[in-house]
Symmetry: C2
Subunit: 240 residues, 2 copies
Amino acid sequence: MTQVKTAKFTVIKQHICQKIESGEWKQHAKVPSENELAEQFSVSRMTARRALQELTEQGLLIRSQGSGTFVATFKSQSSLLKIRNIADEIQERGHIHHAKQLTLKAVSVNEEIAILLNLKANSITSESVFYSEVLHFENNQPIQLEQRYVNSKLVPDYLSQNFAKITPHEYLSSEAPLTEATHEIEAVLAENEICQLLTIEPQIPCLQVKRRTWSSQGVVSLAILTAPGNKYRLGSHLTF
Amino acid sequence: MTQVKTAKFTVIKQHICQKIESGEWKQHAKVPSENELAEQFSVSRMTARRALQELTEQGLLIRSQGSGTFVATFKSQSSLLKIRNIADEIQERGHIHHAKQLTLKAVSVNEEIAILLNLKANSITSESVFYSEVLHFENNQPIQLEQRYVNSKLVPDYLSQNFAKITPHEYLSSEAPLTEATHEIEAVLAENEICQLLTIEPQIPCLQVKRRTWSSQGVVSLAILTAPGNKYRLGSHLTF
DNA sequence: CAAGCAAGCTTGTATATACAACCATTGACT
DNA sequence: AGTCAATGGTTGTATATACAAGCTTGCTTG
């Protein structure tokens, strides 16, 4: 894989994610202030601020003017982080020839968990989505709604309409490498036991991959069947 | 309503939204560059940039390095803007005594449309959510997935655990003004024919309000029943 | 004419700085 | 002991600046 120069604020974001994931920074723990992070990483305060702000938008941190920045409370926080890591891993493998960027979108309805993989191919200015929603139940009453939104972009279809040489749809239907890519993705997902990552205890086992489709937007969808009768149900929804 | 000093970048955001909503700036239209906006509003480029960037994250604009900023293509874009305006209107009315901030979250599954209203009460540092997802069909095949995410925050429950004098749940169950608030909200929603705003043609009529609940997170949910058999189905999902 | 290079524009990243708004603590005063 | 004001720390907003990276255009050159 070509070594992409990582932005400074990305380094800080990864550092914070690692701290949270490792458990070193627990729930409600105070995160170093903007000034402290800036000094620690030898960057300006605005750069450190951007890292904190983006993680706040993603639901990992909570900021309070005058008080400080704190680690948010998420039962499925580790799942979020692991999914993110898988996305990184798929990128780093470099076996997906025509994919420059790849992220995961995990949604589900009832007993189905749909994992959307957004591919950013060479000739396509696609974009990435990372959203998950978890609804907790207690005595059949919803007690908590958790939401995550890591990144949101859309295919700028003005490109395909006005300027582009190739549309995502043409690309997806004609090129072989992308089908190879999906196989590769499936392999990575299997290795990482993605279904376990998506669930909260009691774990929702993955029974089978039901369906794989892609849209004209360059979105590859994997619908994974899981066992019914789980205490926790993942929110969000997709039908095909 | 107390006059809240509006940040500069917010003014620019509202200006752009107005241009898009009025139809002056059509789909794929080029938006003034950061420098142009900065000069027009007599602000620095970074301030204009922030306005463009946030609108991009919200799905209204698309940015491309080297090319410029463009209006995104959204069939339901006007719906998004109208929902935003309703949220503003509810705030400006000032009849909701204990609600400092209010936004809408529109989700649906099958024939149900659930409208989530997040209240930011005086003693609660709650947060706002604004997300909508639309899946378009053609010959029973999904052809496009649109997503919006205006704002995402979460209740910093470390407040209720460690510092706060009152938890959201206590507040919601004990105080009368909030139930008044929900009535007020319902009235506003009825006036604005919210169900029409949420739909794409053919319109999904609102049959009745099925359910109203709130969670310990300060989220008030209205489940609205609509007629079945619509060509378009709104994505996302919530069960109670 | 065609290829390719250079200039100029756009957005992306980063720094340094300043002040405002908010919060928690400290300490003096009553 | 309790109240109030000052203080320092933190995040929020805003500016000015600089350079990098990507796209478009137009000119030069073969």
